[in-house]
């Protein structure tokens, strides 16, 4: 059963029109890193600016490293999740530390019939489930909380995300920041008054740096 996900929008481009057209045409070979990245806008213009293709890369691993739970680590993904749901692509929470609260998700505009949660016994099952879903490609995003310290385990997820052109948000603990990661984007999150401070630690083809984001669901 072949299902091709809806063609994502190529967001924001600062390149002049004629050049954009030329670059997007298949005749120009530009090397792997610079190929137009398929992306889903994060909903935060200042974050989009730092990411290649102007948004969360579709078909890649995005590593989010919050300093604690409840600082806006979920809010930062919500606008993108909403857009993916609008394209009828489900989103799946795997091994989340708490229960995503349905009334709040509905308020944020997520159609609940497309929101799933998976509860597993151990990290291996969680990663397996994430891999199956990503590879299938129907779901638009997987949000996985993983304790895995093994880079290879994450690389499998990266490959699966690529195959299914989905976003794999992987939440990891701050002590993992010292280790290498196969993620295309790596962002450390810290609380700040009324906002969440997002430090883009690593971004393939984008600009690292720190920004403050107003995040829904944190009404201070």
């Amino acid at each position: 059963m072949a299902y091709l996900p809806a063609m994502p929008v190529l967001t924001s481009s600062t390149v002049p029109d004629g050049l954009t057209q030329l670059l997007h045409s298949a005749r120009v070979w530009r090397g792997r890193e610079l190929a137009p990245a398929l992306a889903q806008s994060t909903g935060f213009a200042r974050l989009d600016e730092r990411l290649p293709g102007g948004g969360w890369p579709l078909g890649a691993l995005v590593e989010l490293v919050p300093s604690a739970c409840g600082i806006g680590e979920l809010g930062i993904t919500l606008p993108a999740l909403k857009a993916l749901c609008a394209a009828k692509r489900p989103v799946v929470f795997i091994s989340s530390p708490y229960i995503p609260y349905a009334p709040a998700l509905a308020n944020a505009g997520l159609p609940l019939e497309l929101v799933h949660r998976i509860v597993v016994r151990d990290d291996a099952d969680a990663r397996w489930a994430a891999e199956q879903i990503l590879r299938d490609g129907t779901a638009g995003a997987v949000l996985l909380w993983s304790q895995a310290s093994d880079e290879r385990a994450l690389r499998r997820l990266q490959l699966a995300a690529e195959a299914g052109r989905a976003i794999a948000f992987v939440y990891r603990s701050p002590r993992m920041l010292a280790n290498a990661s196969p993620a295309a984007v790596r962002i450390a999150l810290a609380p700040a008054p009324g906002t969440v401070r997002a430090s883009v630690v690593k971004v393939r083809g984008g600009q690292p740096g720190a920004i403050s984001l107003p995040v829904t669901g944190t009404p201070h």
Partner: protein, 467 residues
């Protein structure tokens, strides 16, 4: 009428699904004689041939493993093939003793835009089941059968061409007893035309009415009133393993074919499955039973196989498997499957529930669920685990945190709260009267908490986080 005859010359060996690592042959006993009726490619490479005596075959290939012919297994395999073929035609016949399945294609030709494509499609699908097949095409059943057994696959489309074309063929191609053929040949006859030229009455006197009836049906002089095969409404398939299978991987191998056959059956009836039962039988232990339940009706072998694989990999076999029984009773004709070509969204939904079924098969039924809304005032009751059904309308006026705890967790000390409380009267309708004052608070780590104080006990609870 136009019949496509599929002949399965290697059926007795191919139905056993033996691994192609050792020479294996199937023998038939006739008195004290044991004759090879089929063998695998390894045996063939060693010089074993159909028709050879078992002793002679063993002389050529000493490692040759001999299996007894099983007429009942052959009949089961052919019936499964006929049920599978129903996806291509509404009329099917079988002859289990001769390893033949016929499908009427006259009506289907336009649908499949030509015979060539139909033939190709059928050949590919049968090859995927692991069978060698030869085709013959003709206006009568017996002519199609005869053509399928020739050296070259041939077709006769025009009934008037039956006599001239078949007439030229040697009489030993007739499906008749060896004794009859020998008698005819001793009488100096060579071709079918020469046999057909003999008056029917004298042929019947000499060889019995069956032979003349056969000739008439072959040449289209009399209608063939053979009974059509119709697969039963409940699907049953029994497979006896050639050798007991002791690994899950080993069981998956024959199951793949059984599911392919089932897929053909389902397509033929334009139905899908909601559930499937499989029993793996053992010599002494009670059967290992697998029950597959599908959220969305399925009829594609790969998807059924994926769900089955997950279930099986979670199963321990108490003993080697000797027999496999597959049964399906509940079929549905879901409208979505009929519009499949046009509605990508519906297919996507079906594919998605296949993925969820696969996850449930490994992680457990309760591990995968959808988040739902309840029409409840009480925060812990406002959400629910949902498998299907409709959600209550969200109350968009309420500000609620993105994370909620399964149960409110008592806090050791009073948190540093912010702003004014939201008072909730909980459970006054059910008599468990209690009121809570909900606040926002901040943890020392900077996490934004959703906490409440019980108005009666004054105990503080953590209930959620503003993720």
């Amino acid at each position: 009428m136009l019949w496509l005859c599929a002949s399965f010359p290697r059926l007795p060996i191919e139905l056993r699904q033996t691994a192609d690592v050792e020479p294996v042959a199937v023998i038939e006993r006739r008195g004290s004689r044991r004759r090879i009726i089929a063998c695998n490619p390894v045996a063939e490479a060693a010089g074993v041939q159909v028709g050879l005596d078992a002793t002679a075959a063993l002389a050529r290939a000493p490692a040759l493993r001999l299996l007894e012919r099983s007429i009942s297994q052959e009949a089961r395999a052919l019936k499964a093939l006929a049920a599978f073929s129903e996806q291509f035609s509404s009329e099917t016949c079988i002859d289990a003793a001769r390893w033949l399945v016929w499908i009427e294609v006259g009506a289907s030709i336009h649908y499949f835009t030509g015979l060539t494509r139909l033939g190709q499609k059928l050949r590919t699908e049968i090859a995927a089941l692991g069978y060698t097949v030869r085709f013959g095409l003709a206006p009568t059943l017996e002519a199609a059968a005869l053509l399928s057994r020739g050296r070259k696959e041939r077709a006769i489309l025009d009934p008037r061409k039956l006599r001239p074309i078949l007439g030229k063929r040697p009489l030993n191609e007739l499906a008749a007893d060896g004794e009859i053929l020998e008698a005819l040949s001793t009488a100096g006859l060579k071709s079918i035309a020469e046999v057909a030229a003999i008056p029917a009455a004298s042929l019947a006197r000499r060889f019995g009415p069956h032979f003349t009836a056969y000739l008439q049906c072959l040449l289209g002089d009399a209608p063939d009133v053979r009974r059509r095969y119709r697969a039963p409404d409940r699907y049953r398939r029994h497979f006896d393993c050639t050798y007991p299978i002791d690994t899950v991987e080993g069981v998956l191998f024959p199951l793949r074919r059984l599911l392919q056959e089932l897929q053909g059956y389902l397509r033929g009836r334009d139905v899908a499955l909601q559930g499937l039962s499989i029993a793996l039988e053992h010599r002494d232990a009670p059967p290992t039973r697998l029950e597959l339940r599908m959220t969305t009706p399925q009829r594609d072998a790969p998807q059924l196989f994926a769900v089955l694989r997950e279930t099986l990999e979670r199963t321990t076999l108490p003993e080697p498997v000797t027999d496999i029984r597959l049964s399906a009773d509940e079929f549905i004709t879901p409208s979505i499957l009929q519009t499949d070509l046009f509605d990508d969204g519906q297919w996507r939904a079906a594919g998605w529930s296949a993925v969820l079924d696969k996850l449930r098969a490994r992680l457990g039924e309760d591990a995968v669920y959808r988040l739902g809304l309840n029409d409840s005032h009480c925060p812990e009751k406002a959400w629910c685990v949902r498998s299907d059904g409709k959600d209550a309308e969200p109350d968009t006026l309420l500000e609620r945190p993105l994370w909620i705890l399964e149960q409110p967790r008592p806090m050791d000390r009073a948190p540093q709260v912010l702003g004014r409380p939201e008072r909730l009267e909980i459970g006054w309708m059910s008599g468990q009267d209690s009121s809570r004052d909900y606040y926002r608070a901040e943890s020392p780590e900077g996490a934004r908490l959703w906490v409440y104080r019980d108005c009666h006990t004054h105990q503080w609870y953590l209930h959620g986080l503003w993720g």
